[in-house]
Symmetry: C2
DNA sequence: AAGTGTGAAAAGTTTCACAGCG
DNA sequence: CGCTGTGAAACTTTTCACACTT
């Protein structure tokens, strides 16, 4: 196995990809502190992982370190960005500007990390607008044209559970390739589409198992 | 290994515990549709997993099925609830009622799944109250007393990154055992405390790797 | 000496396949 | 017969330990 899948993309374990994002943040923090070279031990500590795991993760997509010295912060940042497909700004849309949806729009956590939420869609756009959302909120039926026009690839899905699958189908049909899904529903989509479920109640439930 | 860890709790793989929550929801859906018995194949389909995995997951904490027939919906619901520690309502507090925090308070996704957010805490409680939050919002320094008084075990942490670790320390010291952490920071806590990180920007970043 | 890169071992998880029960 | 419960196999991910480079 040469770490290559059929699409020509390097085959990195899913969990390692999550960690790459964490490394990216840690590197940015180090860069802000004028650090220009970092050892796997130090970076691992900042990121909260084992140093051996960090080295293995980085080795999945290249060799960037200097033995005896460590990794150049700036180069490594660039390489991880490139691997994650974050060299250029990704436009994102949000669908379903209800309670949670408009909350996410006002919360600027995505922008801070370099994602631009360029528009939102809702059956009742006025309601969201009146909630103090600044990003343009359009009527639901304009969704498809907008996605095609702007070639948007990423969507945040916050519609009520009962509409989630139907809306997901529309998104995929219009060209969306990745969905961040906040509905507590297992979406069924083609294998070429990536779904990321964020299920807040489920996370709390998971915690409640571990408290004795 | 008899599936028992030192605390006397059955040793269920972490990933299986997440799935138990999904099964619980699926069962509730079936129950609402008057289904009283369900086969592993059917329940697995609803939950979006393989039937063999479902059977293995359930087997970790008991034997509830009848061969040739399937699982009794109601009993299985009770057993999973019990395993997850969800037989009785868990009180939860939220710390940091800023942008995201007050958004989560207005969003009632937790309540719907049976968690009661009984109070929130913030350095500037008035700001959150004026944002239309109905749950009582108290001043930050009342945190410890409240946790002890009500023996709260679960907290949702939404303070800015720079205060996250300090606040987590306070929570743990006051008796919190599980933290749902929305700050993009790896919290360092004792091994008896469970942390669940929900990092929205990280999830988006993960998606961006998979879109070609 | 310090620290990377990496095979190989260990641990964790999923899937298979089938014996056995109702 | 239909479907559960489960060992064993397959696969994935993590950790170890050390050869090797600067």
């Amino acid at each position: 196995m040469d770490h290559q899948d059929k699409s020509g993309k390097i085959d990195i374990p899913k969990k390692a990809i999550y960690r790459l994002s964490i490394y990216l943040r840690s590197l940015q923090k180090l860069h802000a502190n004028q650090v220009s070279t970092v050892s796997s031990t130090t970076l691992a500590k900042v990121a909260g992982v084992k140093s051996s795991q960090l080295r293995k993760d980085l080795a999945y997509f290249g060799q960037f370190g200097t033995r005896g010295l460590g990794y150049p912060v700036e180069l490594l940042t660039t390489m991880i960005r490139e691997t994650l497909g974050r060299e250029r700004l990704q436009p994102v849309i949000l669908v379903g500007a209800g309670n949670l949806g408009s909350a996410l729009l006002r919360y600027h956590g995505f922008e801070k990390e370099g994602f631009e939420v360029i528009a939102a869609f809702d059956a009742k756009p006025d309601a969201a607008i009146s909630r103090g959302v600044r990003i343009p909120v359009f009527a639901d039926h304009l969704l498809e044209d907008f996605i095609k026009e702007k070639s948007v690839k990423l969507a945040i899905l916050c519609v009520p559970s009962e509409h989630a699958q139907l809306t997901a189908n529309r998104l995929v049909h219009a060209g969306i390739q990745g969905i961040l899904n906040f509905s507590p529903v297992m979406l069924e989509v083609g294998s070429d589409i990536t779904i990321n479920n964020v299920d807040l109640a489920l996370e709390l439930e998971h915690l409640s198992y571990f408290i004795r």
